[in-house]
């Protein structure tokens, strides 16, 4: 009896002592691998990645088609409150002014099927009239591939590409990261400023600004 007791309590103490071992740390190799595996994302000054997408009318459009012209890429999602603020008139006005100057304005929807902002077929054809937009083409990117290629994270997110195919502006549309329409007045619109710089032949003053908005609704399966 006593022997059993002693053995039992001894093993109990031993087990208790074993509890103090710290938990194993995570794999270091994984974190190291992530660093080297990340592909270089094109920033201001780099060549803009090539892409080909089908537009709302069903016609294929490639970036190469517009070589020799200034191209603006605008990621959008009509359900996002931040986009709604800009589409209350300001974005359409900017599109009109830019296209009047000969700039090619490509609006891209990278929402996955079934998510907010996704359109196809008749709905896509009616998008321009519905929002009274003035873009050159509406490109549909349901797999999110092109969005990821440009590291677009939010709607709205803007890129400006010069006639040689180089990125001259990357980032948010202005410096007021809210969804309130009253914040449009007095905000500095970086796209308008960059286009003005490009038109005047000046280097773009602000080549990057932190983008803001809702997250782009990529499908889970697309790897970056």
């Amino acid at each position: 009896m006593i022997r059993m007791l002693t053995v039992a309590s001894a093993s109990l103490l031993l087990l208790a002592a074993c509890q103090q071992q710290p938990v194993a740390t995570s794999d270091k190799a994984a974190s190291a691998a992530t660093e080297t595996a990340t592909p270089a994302i094109a920033g201001p000054g780099d060549m803009a990645p090539a892409f080909t997408l089908v537009d709302a009318e069903g016609v294929q459009r490639s970036l190469a088609d517009f070589k020799g012209k200034t191209v603006v890429l605008e990621w959008t999602n009509e359900g996002c409150p931040f986009v709604k603020k800009h589409y209350s008139g300001a974005m359409q006005a900017l599109q009109r002014d830019a296209t009047a100057d000969g700039v090619v304005w490509l609006t891209i929807i990278s929402s996955a099927p079934g998510t907010q902002g996704f359109v196809e077929g008749e709905e896509a054809k009616a998008w321009k009239a519905k929002h009274q937009a003035a873009f050159t083409h509406l490109l549909l990117d349901p797999t999110g591939e092109v969005g990821k290629r440009y590291d677009a994270k939010t709607t709205p997110d803007m890129r400006i590409i010069d006639p040689e195919g180089r990125l001259i502006y990357v980032g948010g549309i202005d410096d007021r990261p809210t969804n309130k329409i009253e914040d449009l007045a007095g905000a500095e619109n970086f796209v308008r400023a960059a286009l003005a710089d490009a038109k005047a032949g000046r280097p773009v003053q602000t080549a990057f600004a932190q983008p803001y908005g809702c997250s782009i609704k990529y499908p889970e399966t697309v790897d970056s």
Binding site: L12, L15, T25, C80, Q116
Partner: protein, 725 residues
């Protein structure tokens, strides 16, 4: 007829005239009406403006908070939202003289959304905001406070901006206010734990496409964090979604951060400010540009806690589970020797030895016993897990947080120990359950119910030995928890089952005899030990109520002795029974008092007393400055709650005392409890109408530096270092 018509017309006019002012009244009221106080709700979020204390004293800083209750699957954001969404902003509408401070943001969660990373909150969140209540506010007044809280409430699919108008009517009264009973404690906890400066020195350098942050000193010195993550206040500086790897050293740590696009495009714009979060705590750091600090490397790699968090949140390492299960099995085995259980088993063992020549019957009995034990444990565990799921912190491990429960457990251990010592017997109640009608049923049914009774009786004995296994089980997901409980049951039933299965062991069973009684008495001593240990824990948890517990224990012992006497000698049973009941009542009364005893306050005693201080006066300040010594001035008052919080947190620690000594600084305290005019004038000079106000004068500088209203040790230490330079 005409008269009637005239009368009717007059009536109509009068009625409309009467109605018009009230319509006007209503219009006025609607325009000026304060929004309803209390929680405001939308489909996704419930928000409320609450105060930490039940009233505010004039001339003090009160702490309000925006309470958010967010629907599951949705979240709101931190001051830097990360890659998408937007921070919560507040637009205040306050009476004259009342001015709001900045939101004191609690540590956010990392919310990964595919390839994006956001920093935000989910569930129930409090955002504390300090507001200054002017000295001109009169006690008896009520301040109508209104704020429009603008939230971006987002899920994985969409973002919905919500504007909620919140209102709170805050009474103004003299004296220190108690915590608001509903949310005061929760707000105070957030204020205490929100990341704030802690005197950590930090440097950042951006080279070769890598951003390196080193942080040393303060709470990091000599610490061994397992993981660290940096949350910057500004977007675009780091790639929020990237992994952060790091290394720690004797004085601090180094983090490698992937640069954000803003950094790559425009370079590093110092200072790099943000929150450094580790498993040991989270603090605000501000890094100047510069080379790595010494002592921040060389002691091993650390990760960013994403993996660690995932494991603590849901899955448990299989090795942890195996250990807990094994421990539980061992605990169950030891339970067999426990006096609560042994008598039953002894009886059944005696029955077994009688049927030693019928092994099949013995086997069946053994298995039925096992089934009974496991079934009861399942039911107990199920009930416990249901309660746990019901949101109550009930559990054998968790109970040791509440002084009331510790006191009750201590008394229970005492009672069990007295039973083991033979002071009284649990007559035909539990211990005789082995004889009870259910257990006496023939064959397997009887064995099943003996199993059930074994568990029921063993439950009070499990606490000291099984605390670990049960604690682990309650932290694990419920299938694992259930499995641990079953292992306990298996351990309990194992000896009996083994014996019943193996006929040879049957003959080796010790015969019941006087050794049982000796063992019982021996085992009383671990129980006394447990009772004493719990009394000690209780003494540490409460301010001064140990005497109450001792008294309760004494009365309980007396009651049980009398009860035992009444059992033994039937002649005196009546008298002894009554006396026992009376002592029991006394014991219960004292026990309840002990349970209700106030827990020891966790913050230190009057803290201005810890730092040697002198009363403030203009002359004293000038005299100290003339000597070339920096001066730290603390304007405080007894009824100022924020002052007390700051004094406890920042002005009474050994580090602050050291920093004061190192800077050769003078500490002056201006006590504004009676609102004397000199201090009022001084407060107004600095644009304040109330306390607390912290000023740091550096020799050679005309104007003092005003320290923040929510003070931390780190802020004071940093400021003193700067002043001494």
């Amino acid at each position: 007829m005409r008269l009637l018509a005239a009368f009717l017309v007059w009536l109509t006019f009068a009625a409309s005239a009467a109605a018009a002012p009230s319509a006007l009244d209503q219009a006025l009221k609607a325009g000026a009406a304060p929004s309803a106080a209390g929680p405001q709700r939308t489909e996704r979020i419930e928000a409320e403006l609450v105060a930490m204390n039940v009233w505010a004293a004039p001339g003090s800083t009160a702490i309000l908070a925006i309470r958010q209750k967010i629907k599951p699957g949705w979240h709101t954001y931190w001051r830097n939202q990360g890659d998408s969404g937007g921070p919560t902003t507040l637009t205040w509408s306050l009476p004259d003289g009342v001015s709001p401070g900045d939101i004191l943001w609690p540590l956010p969660e990392r919310q990964r959304l595919q390839s994006l990373m956001n920093y935000g909150y989910s569930g129930t969140v409090f955002l504390p905001v300090p507001i200054e209540v002017p000295a001109s506010a009169r006690p008896g007044q009520t301040l109508p406070l209104r704020v429009t809280a603008h939230f971006y409430v987002c899920s994985d699919e969409m973002c919905v901006p919500e504007d909620l108008d919140l209102a709170l009517n805050l009474p103004v009264r003299d004296g220190a206010a108690a915590l608001d009973p509903r949310f005061g404690q929760a707000v105070q906890d957030v204020v205490a734990t929100a990341p704030r400066p802690a005197g950590i020195e930090a440097r950042a350098v951006f080279a070769d496409g890598k951003l390196t942050l080193t942080a040393t000193g303060g709470p990091l010195a000599g610490a061994t964090p397992k993981w660290a993550y940096f949350y910057p206040f500004e977007g675009g500086v780091i790639d929020h979604a990237a992994v952060q790897s790091g290394e720690r050293g004797p004085q601090g740590l180094t983090l490698s951060l992937a640069p954000g696009r803003g950094l790559t495009a425009s370079g590093l714009k110092p200072p790099l400010a943000g929150v450094l979060s580790t498993d040991l705590g989270a603090w605000e750091v501000s890094a100047d540009q510069g080379a790595a600090l010494p002592g921040a490397m060389g002691q091993g790699l650390i990760d960013d806690g994403d993996g660690a968090k995932a494991s603590s949140a849901g899955s448990t390492a299989p090795s942890d589970f195996a250990k807990a299960a094994l421990f539980a099995l061992l605990g169950g085995l030891i339970l067999n020797l426990m006096p609560c259980v042994f008598p039953i088993l002894a009886m059944k063992a005696a029955a077994l030895s009688r049927s030693a020549h019928e092994p099949t019957e013995a086997r069946r009995d053994g298995l039925a016993f096992l089934a009974g034990v496991l079934a009861t444990f399942l039911v107990l565990a199920g009930a416990l897990l249901a309660l746990r799921a019901g949101g109550q912190a009930l559990g054998w491990g968790f109970q040791l947080q509440s002084p009331g429960v510790v006191a009750a457990l201590s008394l229970l251990m005492l009672a069990v120990a007295l039973n083991l010592s033979g002071v009284f017997h649990i007559g035909s109640g539990l211990q005789g359950a082995g004889h009870g009608p259910l257990a006496r049923l023939p064959g397997a049914t009887g064995a099943f119910f003996t199993g059930v009774l074994a568990v029921v009786v063993a439950a009070p004995c499990t606490a000291p030995f099984m605390a670990f296994a049960l604690g682990a089980a309650l932290l694990m997901p419920w299938p694992m928890a259930l499995a641990v409980f079953l292992m306990l049951g298996l351990g309990l039933a194992l000896p009996y089952v083994l014996i019943s299965l193996s006929p040879r062991l049957l003959s080796r069973l010790p015969k019941p005899g006087p050794w049982m009684e000796t063992l019982r008495n021996l085992l009383a001593f671990p129980m006394y030990g447990a009772a004493l240990w719990l009394a000690w824990v209780y003494g540490r948890q409460t301010a001064d109520a140990l005497a109450l517990l001792f008294g309760a224990g004494l009365m309980l012992a007396l009651a049980l002795w009398l009860y035992g006497r009444s059992q033994a000698a039937s002649g005196t049973s009546r008298l002894a029974g009554i006396a026992a009941a009376l002592s029991l009542i006394a014991a219960l009364g004292l026990g309840v008092l002990a349970a209700r005893a106030a827990p020891a306050s966790t913050d230190a005693a009057p803290s201005s007393a810890h730092l040697p201080s002198r009363p403030w006066s203009e002359a004293a300040v000038q005299a100290a400055l003339a000597e070339g010594r920096p001066v730290l001035v603390n304007f405080t008052a007894d009824w100022c709650v924020t002052c007390k919080i700051n004094e406890g947190a920042a002005l009474s620690s050994p580090r602050t005392a050291e920093a004061m000594q190192a800077a050769n600084a003078v500490y002056l305290v201006g006590d504004w409890t009676r609102r004397d005019d000199a201090i009022t004038a001084e407060l107004q000079r600095h644009g304040r109408s109330g306390v607390p106000l912290y000023l740091l004068y550096a020799p050679g500088q005309a104007e003092p530096r005003v320290l923040p209203q929510l003070l931390t040790e780190g802020t004071v230490v940093d400021a003193l270092k700067d002043a001494a330079r």
